[in-house]
């Protein structure tokens, strides 16, 4: 196949990822609109101002949510009545998984979102995962999980709106043109 890459032969590209210590948000330049309509925020800026393991909603599509989480130290244990997915955006996070002996007693099977457990989960150890920037992990239904991070790191969690979700849109989103 004839490509058009001759002029690129000596080019070097640097992929720009963000981090807690180095992020440069863009923004909404309004022509004829309200910037709030775009619900514009930045996960690193949100995590920068969050308490450890505060699960701040940065995207919401009806009942579905994406949470930005500052991971630092050891979290509480959580469980859900559905899968969730954790995507590491910066740093390194360890995930411990326990197969709940009685999932329905830990979390109402009809409920949505993450629920904080009152203590250590009752069940068999499933294993652990260490994710770094760009790694996505399954937080499976029927399991309890907790996070550990030696240094402040950032995750996004694909989930459903639940009791642990913190909504503070006016604090995190661009409101001025």
């Amino acid at each position: 196949m004839a490509l058009n890459l001759e002029e690129e032969a000596v080019s070097q590209y640097t992929t720009v990822f963000g981090s807690l210590n180095d992020y440069t948000p863009g923004g909404v330049m309004v022509i004829d609109d309200d910037p709030k309509n775009y619900v514009f925020s930045n996960v690193f800026a949100v995590a920068d101002k969050s308490a450890p393991y505060e699960r701040v909603a940065v995207a919401k599509n009806m009942e579905y949510i994406i949470e930005a989480v500052r991971t630092e130290g050891v979290s509480d244990w959580y469980a859900t009545a559905h899968d969730e997915f954790a995507l590491c955006m910066d740093g390194e996070v360890e995930i411990e998984l326990v197969k709940l002996a009685d999932p329905d007693s830990a979390v109402d099977p009809d409920s949505e979102g993450a629920h904080k457990l009152s203590g250590d989960p009752d069940g068999q150890k499933m294993g652990r995962i260490v994710i770094r920037r760009g790694h996505q992990a399954l937080l499976p239904v029927g399991a309890a999980y907790r996070f550990k991070a030696e240094k402040a790191s950032v995750m996004m969690i694909q989930t459903v709106l639940g009791p642990e979700t913190v909504e503070k849109w006016a604090e995190i989103c661009q409101t001025a043109a």
Partner: protein
Amino acid sequence: MAMSESAATADAIDNPRGLPITTGTEVFPPDNVEGYKAFKAGDFSFRRDAYFAHITWPGGRHEMPIDVFLRALMRDVAWGFFYGTVNFDHIFGTTNYYGEVEMFAGACNHAYTKAGRDFIQRFKSDELMDVFSQMVSDWTNADYDPFAAPMETGTPWGSKNGDNDAAVTRQRVTAKRMIGLPGDTPVRTDESGFTVNRHFTDVDQSQPDVYPEPGFEHEVSAYNLFGYLSRSDVTWNPSVCSVIKDSLFCPTTEEFTLPVEHGNDRCEWFIQLSDEIIWDVKDGKSGDPRATVTMRAGDVSCMPADIRHQGFSNKRSMLLVWENGSPKIPEMVRNGTAPVVAVEF
């Protein structure tokens, strides 16, 4: 941007214009000059020559550079007419009603509608898709890949010169639960033919450390999403990588321009994973400019349901498109209960 299977099977089909179904498609033999087939769907006719796609309808005509037309046509075919409206440009496009589709000239252009010069016909989706699929196959030459960034492919110009069906019939990736799980979509590797893109040679390819206890290997799972994306061989073609009910993570890699102006019928979220995309946002119906959204790594933004948008990415970038593929949304769009703005605060 990748549709779930359920999204295409709404119980009732919206028809806000009250248009009848148009039937009748035709494929004409290759012409004696450039060698391309011509096509007809209802009263729309399509032909291409060395440089242009020519679209005609009763009382009107429109010309598009063939590269622009093919890139847009490719997405409309690959996305199954997508959510809402796919504007090939400021004149021509399709609007999806999930089972039926409108093809239009000028319907999303203020000057055309004001002058009453817009023209719209409605088709069964599978009938129009059959014509579009044959068109993209015949009009794509051997050296050209309409899914690829312009720097990574040949040119579409000139007379008929073979085909590239391997490229134009690519199947989008749709993980059922998550990439890399047993029985689900596999991760990309050199061995499976997915090499790291020239713009992503610096992206870490290491996999997560996974330590399952015996018996839990099928659920203790993780993979390198950024590495997976760095090996994408297409642009502006999201694929489903993780699924919670109707919540679809549809990451994609973007270079050059989004080949269409996508007119949303529902809110659509973007999370910029790397680099930068600049979005031109226009009013969905009139095409009047509304905003310019610059997104850099870590930025999150939602496209309202009443706009159209087109992205520009100089360096290949990673974008997470987050969709709600619920089959209840077409009904909500129909009865006016679908939110136009995702979050009000």
